[in-house]
Amino acid sequence: MSESAPSCHSDSGGVAAPPGTPVVALAGAPNVGKSTLFNRLTGARRDVGNWPGTTVEVGRGLMDDGVHQFDVIDLPGAYSLDPLSPDEALTRALLVEVPREDRPELVVVVGDATRLSRSLYLVRQLRETDQRLVLAVTMGDIAHEHGIDIDAEELQRRLGVPVAFIDPRHRHGRVGLLAAMDAALAAEPPAAIPAPARAAGSDGLAEADARFGWIDDVVDACVSRGAPRRQRWSDRFDRLALSAVLGPITFLVAMWAVFQLTTTVAAPLQGALDWFFTGPVTSLAITVLDAVGLGGTWVQGLVVDGLISGVGMLLTFVPLMAIMFALLALLEDSGYLARAAVVTDRLMRAIGLPGRAFLPLIVGFGCNVPAIAATRILPNARHRILTALLVPFTSCSARLTVYVLVASIFFPEHAGTVVFAMYLISIVFVVVIGLLLRGTLWRTMGSEPLVIDLPPYQRPSLRLTLNVMWLRLSGFLRTASGIIVATVIVVWFLQAIPTTSGYGFGQVPVEESLYATTAQAVAPVFQPAGFGTWETTSALMVGFIAKEAVISSWAQTYSAEEPDTSTQPGTLGQYIKADFEQSSGGHTSAAVWAFLVFLLAYTPCVATLAAQRREIGARWTGFGIALQLSVAWLVAVAIFQIGSRL
């Protein structure tokens, strides 16, 4: 199948279903519980990824309870079949534009009982075709609490399709839904309702109004609205969460909590995992290798410095990512995320970004990796790409350790101010690069007006949160593992190959390895920035893997003891100082500032790249690398050239 003719029956990844299995597509507006239903139906046998040729995320899985077998597709959220967004365009392409035989056997429109009329537009548009349909109504419990009662039989009669009430939050109604699906599949396809007459030169609004009129009639006949039993708790909380003064404060408190949880709470867990891999796992590996006679050979280097440290690095991200994904699910599920977008809209719009981009950018100051993953809260793909390209410019905590060391070597009296300045520079980078990208690449990206639906607050479900967390975490591990482990092994390999005779493979000091030769070859690039020595270059090259590694690389290169605390630079500090004095021709301060800014702006770490590849694809990740390296180099050179002439 070509990209221009997508088909639900094509092999678009996902879990293989036996041929002939009925294809069931889940459709519906965002936030109606569609993906929850999908997870419930398919259990573990599902796969979530971009539909081929699009950036639209589609889930696909096999439902098999022994009686029924369905190949279930979770279509992206769509209010209608009018292609106003890529999500809606794909939904339209798969349900309407393809030949009859390529359409799904059954479409389950998932609708929210608290706002049924909104879900019915899609039903109405699909009823204008002969598609077999089922309407699955969610959130019946919340609707009931709000005094809304729905007459299911009347609804079924008026719509002409089976209606099933489900409440995926509490696992009710699955049986009813399956019965409705069976009924729809067994029956003849429903007779199509005639589409509203299209007036010549009409922009479609008259047809839309005709459909909404039909929907109003259906809703008036089937939905009774008792007076709300109590003042809605949701409105009361919104008076705080959206107010001009307390709203931003509430938001900052929420962001502070996210930031704390992804840094302070995750740090000891990361530390423990790191200890586990550098301690017991490494000792065990060495013991085993000794026992089989490979101790001290290059095999030990490969296993310990390559494999174990690569896998260990990957796994230290697991607690951090788990916390981040759980928090995201919590914020989304509770309904607060929509409020946060309202609160930040004005400020973010001033720098040309949507309100929701605030969260990933804040998280980025803790760690870029979960921040990139958090860009998925942005509904618009271009906003997502732009934000994922900006996140690496937020200065993460790994970079902080290097700032502190360098600042206390060169500016011991003002180290705090220097570090603070780095954070300010980081914000300037995000704003300026954001404006530059919008002014060039995405000139057509309009500043969309704020129109956002505020779902009622609800108690997040633990099961759902854990489910979403696991789904996203395993996705991250699948994509990231290869990149991270491979890069760590490549660096180990370069460090193991001797360039002078007298050393064996894997037995060579770093300065005699192919790695040092490479660093020497690269070093002249940094000459105009004032730090073109191979020692500094080598540290920056390792920093491509992780910024934490910069300090240990310096220590290794100078064969100096790594300082116990980075504020007591000791002998390492003297070596670094001498190095910068020499490379900058006496303009040490200018070179140090150039170095710090380069360190801030260039590719943060290989895990960030892995996360970027997962969220925005390899092409944009490559663009991001080029963008960061060129921005970092240009600004560093500018700083040194100007600074050394002052």
Binding site: A29, Y79, S80, D82, L84, T114, R115, S117, R118, Y121, H146, I148, D203, G204, L205, A208, D209, F212, R225, S234, D235, D238, R239, L242, S243, A244, G247, P248, A338, V342, V343, D345, R346, L347, P449, L450, V451, I452, D453, L454, P455, P456
Partner: protein, 77 residues
């Protein structure tokens, strides 16, 4: 000058007239229930001038500029 949603005070009910917006946005709002003939209430003026509308039982947040493009019908009170 016709009154718009932006001019409504908090708690005031009004019936919407045809939105003065480009078709895509107008459609999106119509799907959310914000369309000609619907009764709306501004439940809150939020941060940055955003208006929170109550329409058919759901809550929609709009920025002030969009609210100013939503005229309301004059009512005989």
């Amino acid at each position: 000058m016709a009154r718009t949603v932006r001019d409504l005070s908090v708690g005031e009910r009004a019936v919407l007239d045809a939105p003065q917006l480009e078709p895509g946005l107008r459609m999106r709002l119509a799907e959310m229930g914000v369309r000609r003939g619907e009764e709306v209430t501004v439940t809150q003026r939020g941060v940055g001038g955003a208006r929170i509308l109550s329409v058919r039982g759901s809550r929609i947040a709009l920025d002030a500029r969009t609210a100013a493009r939503l005229p309301v019908q004059e009512q005989a009170t």
